[in-house]
Amino acid sequence: MADRPVIVLAGADEHDLTKLAAYRAVGGYDALAKARGMEPQAVIDELVASNLRGRGGAFFSTGKKASFIPADSPKPTYLTVNADESEPGTFKDREIMLRVPHRLLEGCLITAHAIRSRHVFIYIRGEYLEEFEVLRAALDEARAEKLLGDVTVVLHRGAGAYICGEETGLLESLEGKRGQPRSKPPFPAIQGLYASPTLINNVETMATVPPIIAMGGAKYAKIGAPPDSTGTRLFCVSGNIERGGNYELPMGMTIREVLFDLAGGVPGGRKLKALIPGGSSMPILTADEIDVPLEHDALRALDTFLGAAALIAIDDRCCMVQLGLRVAQFYMHESCGKCTPCREGTRWMVQILEKIEAGHAEQSELDLLLDVCDRILGHCLCPLGDAAAMPIASYVTKFRDEFQAHVDQGGCPFKGSSTLEHVFAPVNQHSHHPTVEVPA
């Protein structure tokens, strides 16, 4: 373990880094002083050299994105931090906020300097109350010590909407509207918050910036799986696993190593059936595909994504139709309703999956389900529709026999013994989602 680099959570096991004095004692805010002594462009150059890619899931070069912010904007420029972590399977940003809040704030201040911004908004999901309180206390300390300089940092709490983790939905919400995504272009770097140049970065991305400035981009670029997947990630391990939790690891280890060598494997002598990488919106992997290294290109070769670095282990007790249904119910609940394919398609998916699970589906409806997925993919303003269609299509494709068995046997082959049997979905307790029947 000792030879594995710990960067984002460095020092947090040994010290209570929520306190400013403790954070400064391990070199905290030194990188900020160093960055403020550099030209903004030089800070961006270091980020480009590190090849840090966005940790929210899009994996776009953080330095390059910062360079899109015009240096001579007549309008104010804004840094907005996406702390609306809501993708099922991910719980890393909350750990960063709870344990190294000052590293996040330091990263924000460095990045604000890099894009010549004096306004930082941290949009934190409403459900993260404890994290908000820890971050607020850290911000108060940093402000009292005059570390903010001429920058204002506003902590803005969301109020429960998955879609506000999508960057333009987040901006709409921050402007005081329903969090419905915008069409792009214009991109936020040109017209974002209040129609001004806006950089939007994930919490983990921001918390990685101070160590990069401290060690230098070139050194960071050697960690992990260069050239593309540099550095560490906080992998969120959950599901049917012995030791769930966040593991900060260099990119490039295999899924099998993380699940079985570090997280203790599948409990109770059960067999691993499937693994969802990235988060619930990602295409699933079968148990014989888990020798893949956790880095961008290798997962792309398997038609899936590293996403927000979730690893959801699923053992052999789980019915894949029920899994699909529960995932589809989530996206139906969270669809903002703006684009027809997503708003209607997620409902169709739920209804067809309910029929398959109940044993009432006809053969043609398996293909109808795939057709619905196909008609959502790429046809919406934001990725939420894709986030529903991609996983469901992958379950049908990779576990076709199990879906087929539901049709052939006129019911669930698990006969009531699946781990997801009768799981109650919140969409069923709300009255504002009218039920639309699938026409015969």
Binding site: G89, E127, H156, G160, L174, G176, Y194, S280, F424
Partner: protein
């Protein structure tokens, strides 16, 4: 000027445009109205921020944590998304339902506790996550349910 309006204007001063304060304002209004947003709350928020009540209600209806119907004095929310569900969230839901005598989405007759199933609370590695008055409890199992309710009823 009311106390609520003062609080809302203080929050709004943090933003370049006061409309940005609508979520914190609605949250403050909800706290002033026993945990939910009756029609007069939209009037109050609207007046404080220069928005129409209808606009305020349309925004509130988009967000799961803003309540358009009365709720209990305490809120118990069980995550039933896949990671918690794979590890027994349904048994936790059923334990709350049977102890409280209500179903998900309902409030106990004495107005003490509202029970809800909710989407992912972001604690997937520590199932099952239960939010009790917005603070998250980790690793909750069905057997823990009576103690949680006793704590709420005693407090």
């Amino acid at each position: 000027m009311t106390e609520l309006a003062d609080e809302i204007r203080e929050v709004a001063a943090q933003y370049p445009e006061s409309r940005s304060a609508i979520l914190p304002a609605l949250r403050l209004a909800q706290e002033h109205h026993d945990g939910w947003l009756p029609p007069e709350a939209f009037e109050e928020v609207g007046v404080a921020l220069g928005l129409t009540p209808a606009y305020c209600e349309s925004v509130a209806s988009f967000y799961d944590m803003l309540h358009l119907r009365p709720v209990g004095r305490h809120m118990v929310e069980v995550c039933t998304n896949i990671c918690c569900a794979l590890r027994g969230a349904q048994a936790v839901v059923e334990a709350f339902e049977s102890e409280l005598g209500v179903r998900c989405g309902e409030t106990t007759e004495d107005g003490a506790i509202t029970l809800r199933a909710v989407e992912c609370l972001g604690g997937c590695g520590w199932p099952t996550i239960v939010a009790v008055d917005d603070y998250h409890r980790r690793d909750v199992q069905a057997a823990d349910v009576p103690a949680i309710l006793e704590e709420l009823r005693g407090g």
